[in-house]
């Protein structure tokens, strides 16, 4: 019986989890979500069963962290008089695709999560249903609806 050093888990799954976090909570909060996910994972790692799917396990943790972050953000949100027409898409080059996040942000939370876990993390709908709750079919439908909206809004944004 051998155990993988946690460094190898970070190396193999870190970039994919970052993509998932950016898709689910957006570029601003993604690094906090990633950090909290991997810190929790490190804490629980010695007790992870040998046959566990590490990728799905990490997405499960990231999902809980994303919910915490979204709630915290809602609590600290301050109403503004004028909503800007369009959020800035400028920023540091590593800050992800602003247009894509703008389109993702318009999706209901559940749809955005399901789209990210399937299209970014590559998880099957059966696993996604376990993470988000609900049935496999419901997860599949939410992803289809989310992608339909996303393709319409994001394509529009991409080709003005």
């Amino acid at each position: 019986m051998t155990v993988k050093p946690f460094e190898q888990v970070v190396d193999e799954h870190g970039p994919a989890v970052l993509r998932v976090c950016r898709a689910v909570v957006g570029p601003v909060d993604a690094e906090d979500a990633w950090s909290e996910t991997f810190l929790s994972a490190l804490r629980a790692y010695p007790d992870l069963p040998d046959d566990a799917d590490v990728g799905a396990w990490l997405v499960t943790i990231a999902h809980r962290k994303a919910i915490d972050i979204t709630r915290a953000r809602a609590r600290r949100a301050v109403p503004v008089h004028e909503v800007p027409d369009r959020p800035s898409t400028r920023g540091r080059p590593e800050d992800w695709d602003g247009d894509l996040w703008t389109a993702l942000a318009q999706l209901p939370d559940k749809q955005r999560a399901v789209v990210a876990y399937h299209y970014v993390a590559g998880l099957p709908y059966k696993d996604i249903a376990t993470i988000t709750g609900g049935s496999t079919d419901a997860a599949r439908r939410a992803a289809a609806d989310g992608m339909k909206t996303l393709r319409a809004t994001y394509q529009q944004g991409a080709k003005p």
Partner: protein, 205 residues
């Protein structure tokens, strides 16, 4: 309609990944979750893997001992909470650099001997008493460790030394004066003993 809007995104974002890794090391340390920190160090005897626990240095491995396999074994035997955290090994790297430069003749580092038990551990505890630039035979070490007949056991204690270089098993040679085997290879043993002999001589004059 097969277009996936996520396809255009890069698979790996290097600068962010590095920054997040550093942040993980730092928060894991604060929370007491970093059980084993490691780094590699280039040396005249090839790349060395250095690993430390919160107690002290636990493992030094030569390249021929397979660094990945060594880390897997540490994860299995000690704790899987293993991260690449070079800064935690700065003092070790510095003392090894000084040793290879010939300016350091003994190491002053906290050590974690958990990987070695019983007679093997008794042998390793004796080894630092063999002075820089000198050697002892396997038989002499067996006597010093309290079991004059355990010459072979001394050989296996040296072969499985988890802390080569720091615990100087390279100073144990055959009774006929030939080098004998070494975890880092016979060439590495030759390099180390030549370095030490040269430095010790220079100091005498």
């Amino acid at each position: 309609m097969t277009h996936n809007p996520f396809d255009s995104l890069p698979e790996v974002d290097e600068p962010t990944t590095r920054r997040l890794h550093a942040r993980l090391v730092s928060t894991a340390t604060q929370e007491g979750l970093l059980d084993i920190a490691y780094r590699t160090l280039d040396s005249p005897v090839g790349p060395l893997l250095l690993a430390t626990t919160t107690t002290g240095l636990i493992r030094v491995a030569f390249e021929r001992q397979d660094h990945n396999a060594t880390l897997t074994s540490l994860a299995t035997l000690i704790s899987p909470r293993v991260l690449h955290a070079p800064a935690k090994l700065d003092p070790v790297a510095r003392q090894l650099d000084e040793y290879f430069a010939g300016t350091r003749h003994h190491f002053d580092l906290p050590l974690d001997f958990r990987l070695s038990k019983g007679f093997r551990r008794a042998v390793l505890t004796h080894l630092p008493a063999i002075h820089y630039g000198t050697t002892e035979s396997y038989a002499q070490v067996a006597t010093a460790a309290g079991s004059p007949k355990a010459v072979r056991a001394v050989g296996s204690a040296c072969a499985t030394n988890p802390l080569p270089l720091i615990v100087p098993c390279h100073r144990v040679v055959r009774s006929d004066g030939s080098y004998g085997q070494y975890a880092g290879g016979e060439t590495a043993k030759h390099t180390l003993l030549t370095l030490e002999a040269t430095q010790a001589k220079t100091q005498q004059h």
